[in-house]
Structures are given as C-alpha cells and as structure tokens.
Symmetry: C2
C-alpha cells in the first residue's frame, strides 16, 4: 500500500506493508485525510517522530475482530490519543494526558496518510450519513476548537478575541460565536481577514486594537508575536487561552501575567462526539477552508503547499 | 526629614521637605519599614521610578483632616494601590488593576522609606495592640501570600510545591500549610531549606523532584530557572501560580502549557484585613525572617545587604 513516511527529516511516498489489526483494533481504509500544522512541525523535527504521518481522517472500517463486528463497513473518524488505560492519569483525566500514551501519527503510532491504518475501536466514532467526507475530515480540529468553549463554561466572559485567522483560529471563533459569545477575529493583514468576514465574524487588524480590551483572548497564531499581542490586548484579570505553541527561540515578557493577575489556560484536544453533533447542524462552511486536494502519492507536494502562508486546509485522498 | 531617594539609578539618603496630607489623606510617621524584592528591582531600573522608595510599613497617623480624626494616633499598615476610584476597573475589580493607579513607592506615589509619608485613609488598616511592629511590617507580603490561598479556593488541589524558599515563598508555603494543604518547599541548596524546616514545612532539593509530581506549583523564585522547574514538576492539567516575575532576557519553552493543558495564574496583592487577622493568631514566626535592621539613613547599605543571596527580610527604622 502507499503511505507518506517521515524518516530522517525527509518525507517520501512509498510502498509499505499493509498493517494488521490486533485484538480490539480496527483496520481502516482511508477515505480522506487533512494536513495539520502539527504535521508541518513534525517534518521540521518536532517530537522526533519517524513513520507514517497524519492524524486527521475519515475512513471506513474494513477489518475488525469478532467482538467488534458492528464496526465493519462503518464510516468513522477517530480520536488520536491512545492511553495505557491503566495509570491514574488515564483513569482520572483520560488518555490525552497519559505519560505512556501513543498519539496517532505523532508519537509511537503509525498515522493515517496511508491507504490503510489501524486504531483501537475505543477511539472510533461513527459518522452520520448527513455528514460528507469533506466535512467529517474536520472532526479533529473542530473537537479541538470546541475544547475552548468547554473550558470557558465555568467562567464569566463577555468579549473574546481570537488571534490568528488560520484554519484552527477560524473554527474556534465560529464555535464561540455559535455558543453566543461576542467574538473578534484578529489578523496581521487585511487579506487574512477576508474569509473570517465571509463567515460573518467580526474582524480587525491586530495592530489597531488598543491595550487591555478583551476579557478573553485565544492565541491560535502559533507565533511568539501572537502571544505578545495576546498579552497586550487582554484586560487585567482576563483569561488567555493558548491553543498553539511556538518554538521557544525568543524571550517573551511574562510580567503582565503576574501584574494583571491573568489566567492562562492551555487547550488541546476536545470531544469528537460534540464535533459530530455540531457538524449535523451544518452551521460551519467547512468547504471554504479547503485550499487544495492532493493524491496521497503527492504527499510531499501537498505538505509543501500547506506550509505556505495563508493556506488553510489541504486534503489528501488515496 | 530624612528619606531614601532613588534618582537616576542612584540611591541616597537625603533631607527633603515633609509632605503635606491632602483632603482624605493621612500624614504617617514611619515606625518600621521592610525592604522587598520589588525595591531591589526598582533600583535596577524596573518601572523607571524616581522618588522615595518603599511600600512595606507600619506607622502612626500624626495628621489627618477633620472627617477622619478617628485615625489620629492610630498605629496603621496600608495597602499600596491608589486607584482613580472612577473607572470601570476600579469599580469592578478594585484599585489593584486601575490603569491610572499610583502605587506607593513604586509608581507615581512617594514611598515609605522616610520619616513621614502620606496615604489615603481608605488604604489604612488599624493594627491591633497584640501585634508588634516587627510583625505588622509583614502585613503587605503576608497579604500577598494569602492571595494564593484565595485563588485556590475555587479549585481542587491536594499537593502543592512552592519553589523559592525566600521571604515570600516561605510565607506562601506557611499560609498554605495553615490552610490545610500538603505543601513542599523546594530550593536549590540545602542551606536555603534550613529555615523552612525550622518552620515545620516539608522540604526538598528541587533537582531531586521527579517530573509531573504536583497538582499545583507556586513559583516564588523570581528566576527563569524556577519557572522552568515549575513547568517540569507540575502534573498535566495542574495549576501553576506565578507569584514573581523574572526579566524576560531568555526564552522559556511554554509548549507544556498547551500540551498538558496547564492553568497558569498570576497572583499579586491580597487582603490586609485577612493578613492582620492571621497575625493575631501568632502561628507564623515572622521574627526568624529578619536578617538585619538598619537606620533609615543607612538605606543604601541596607538595600545592598538585602540583595545578597539567601538574605530574607531587612528592616529600616527612622
């Protein structure tokens, strides 16, 4: 079978052996995969991953053991963390924070940029017929966006800024707007704000925003400058949600966190069930996020295109 | 009158005019002042302050306007933020976060390292007779320590590490222990842990602590390395309280905040009323924090001594 393999910092589409599903695992045939910023980071060497890349997918179960036959031929998406299911962290907090976890296409588990791949059935979610492949493939980033809504449920927040109008920033802004928050998408160029406006979101150039304006700021920029701007525009005692990290190559002045008593919350994976439920409501125009579609064998070119500034989602099909 | 004045980066004890109390202000005669890490930072140029230094004090009201005569001859301590009392921040969050605030001896308001100084009566707290001057002078740092207890009230936390066994770290660890938490004071040298042990606190060398151990870590180290260690020893979804900042001279890898979904909370000033109430219970041996006493006129030498590694509290008396 064909697979996009990362090895020694180089990416190649190559022919490898079809994997075998162990007990409790499903063998999945890829229908559509999405390229994520994390994939681009992995290619640069982050986390030292070697193997088949990819973790955003929609696929079809083509083999599974006897006790799980009801999954056979189901169209599925899947959560990406594989915990040991035995440690206290798994039992209390779930697999996302297990110290021994594998992560699909990121850590110790072969990814989805391949004709076939395996995943434990406990990670699978059946996709309702009303959701197309080109929507379902956004389940993982939409779940990550919904995590922000969940984290804000316990606190009182009126106006929210989302820094970074990329694929994840847009999804976060939209789910916050759908949840009833007053949201502003902030970007560095007028061009980057065209799609947010199409999505009927309020927008502004970040340099035009005055200091200390927002109750809550979500930094989805993935850049040190975005984090700096987040610290600038948040009000005292505000909530800053970090949705993406940046390479720790330059110092950032953190003193406002103490002086203004900010609350900074890291935010990672969210609920696939909630994401699929929201998808059936068809309030998010996912198709406008798709900038290109490539064949799996053109994975190298697809990742190169996905890394261009301003490009949002690039899909791979087998 | 004598005053310790910071001007153009140099510190001098000099004779200056006695200040006049405006309407709503008290003229206070200094009884005892404490030197704080912030004073040492101000001397290095932080915040560009010029004028009389100092904000930790116990004093006696010697003049006040007619409507506030009940303050006359009272022994007092005082909160240090002077808000405009008109903006939304003052009305909602209090003077600590007012964008136009003055801060005693730190920003736009002459400090307490002087025979006399003024403060609005709304900032004053009467000191009960059972509290000595050498205890009362710790009201401001004790209030700051109690702020951590208050911030943790809303969350569920079992074991807490306090990084930095200095004057503030010790007070934080002690008030957390008094509040019933399981607390560990972490320092870089065995010598720095002698006093924490005397205070019956659990201690450990920070390098000996394994990764991901603590539900909550309070960083009171004032150093980038302390913050790095805090990120290392905190468990996924843990709470990291930043009690002191460090100069943003070197990059710190913040990716664990996102990956482990940490909650980082800045923590600054606390309740003087709560601090005085705790002082009357006499559970904290403040006198063991005092490493030296200097006369006001020896302020330069006192600040130089206070900046030595391992020195905790240095007092100034008029």
């Amino acid at each position: 079978m064909q697979a996009v393999v990362l090895k020694n910092g180089a990416l190649h589409c190559q022919d490898i052996a079809k994997p075998l599903a162990a007990a409790g695992e499903a063998l999945i045939h890829l229908r559509l995969a999405g390229i994520c910023a994390t994939d681009l980071e992995l290619v640069k060497g982050y986390a030292g991953f070697t193997g088949v890349l990819g973790h955003e997918f929609v696929g079809e179960v083509v083999a599974v053991d006897k006790p799980h036959q009801h999954w056979l031929h189901q169209r599925v998406v899947g959560s990406i963390n594989l915990g040991c299911r035995q440690c206290l962290v798994c039992l209390n907090d779930g697999p996302e924070h297990c110290p021994n976890r594998k992560v699909l296409g990121i850590r110790g588990q072969q990814g989805v940029f391949a004709d076939y791949f395996t995943l434990p059935v406990t990670n699978l979610y059946a996709v309702p017929d009303s959701i197309t492949d080109e929507t379902a493939v956004f389940a993982e980033p939409l779940a990550a966006a919904l995590r922000v809504v969940k984290q804000l449920q316990a606190v009182s927040v009126a106006n929210i800024a989302v820094i970074g109008p990329g694929r994840l920033g847009l999804l976060i802004a939209k789910v916050l707007a759908v949840a009833g928050y007053q949201v502003q998408v902030l970007g560095r160029s007028a061009k980057s704000l065209v799609l947010p406006k199409q999505w009927q979101l309020n927008t502004d150039l970040i340099d035009k925003v005055a200091d200390n304006q927002f109750d809550c700021v979500v930094d989805a920029s993935g850049q040190a400058d975005g984090f700096r701007q987040a610290l600038r525009i948040i009000r005292p005692r505000g909530i800053l949600i970090l949705k993406s990290t940046f390479a720790a190559a330059e110092p950032v002045d953190l003193s406002k966190i103490v002086v203004a008593e900010l609350q900074v919350m890291g935010s990672r994976c969210g609920s696939f069930a909630d994401a699929l439920a929201l998808m059936t409501q068809q309030v998010i125009p996912f198709e406008t996020l798709i900038d290109a579609r490539y064949a799996l064998c053109d994975g190298e070119a697809a990742l190169a295109f996905a890394s261009r500034p301003g490009v949002r989602k690039v899909l791979l099909r087998p």
